[in-house]
Symmetry: C2
Subunit: 135 residues, 2 copies
DNA sequence: CAGTTAATACTAAAACTTTCGAAGATCCAA
DNA sequence: TTGGATCTTCGAAAGTTTTAGTATTAACTG
């Protein structure tokens, strides 16, 4: 017998739907479906089920407008990205985020601009961290 | 009816086992089990099943030594990390690895040491990029 | 108000994941 | 060489994920 898994992370299809909802801000099942890839051929009831599951798992909330539900993410994409990366870092990179970055910049050719952007952000962060330490 | 999912990525338990095997280089079911967290209470047959599944999915190969199988990863951790990050980048960061790094360094939980490591890495990478540009 | 349209709720299937027991195979020691 | 220990293989149970059909319910339309 297995114990029930706590759903901290989105499944593949759930992520697909959440991504659309993040883009939309909020929307109905039809709205979300309309944003799926055109080749994605999914019955309306399937999409509705996914949205219902997302609500059960507390990833989204819904309010009723007329007879339809309007869904809204309860979790920002930023927060989810952070949570997810923390887990990846732990499970696949021995808890060393630097190793993760190493692998990433090793593989993909980031533009100089992107690298600069990241460095700026990094230095801002390091300054903050130092300030906190100096108190 | 769903179409068969091609298993490009490891499941949670599979990753747990592969991580041990990567640490070991190669090993038997017992070897891998011995490296699991002490509180991980798993029957030997369960572990054997996981290893067999990993072999079916072509993540590992095995050679027979006496009556036991000695397993070896067919996929390096580096390659898997790269493959995985590419997917994460795509699915959760709009295909912009820079956004991924940005999110990572923006995480308040990151230590100063980790930030330093990342900066060192980044500067090395930027130097390389500049060198290439100067040619 | 009755009929059509469209949304939701319920249910269930098929595939996948995780776990482990039963049965048979193999090796070693006495 | 045989008994015990240990290994492998097979199958299956229980939970999760993904998909969609059916039934019900709510809104609009003539």
């Amino acid at each position: 017998m297995r114990k029930k898994k706590k759903s901290e992370f989105l499944t593949e299809v759930e992520l697909e739907f959440m991504t659309r909802l993040w883009e939309l801000g909020e929307g109905t099942v039809r709205d979300v479906m309309a944003k799926l890839a055109p080749e994605r051929d999914l019955a309306y009831t399937s999409a509705a089920t996914i949205m219902r599951i997302l609500e059960q798992k507390n990833f989204v909330s819904s309010k009723k407008e007329g007879k339809t539900h309007v869904y809204k993410a309860l979790l920002t994409k930023d927060v989810y990205q952070t949570r997810f990366l923390k887990d990846v870092s732990e499970k696949l990179f021995d808890n060393t985020p630097a190793a993760l970055v190493a692998r990433l910049v090793d593989d993909d050719d980031l533009s100089i601009e992107a690298l600069n952007e990241i460095r700026t952000l990094l230095e801002g962060r390091m300054k903050d961290a130092n300030d906190r330490n100096d108190i």
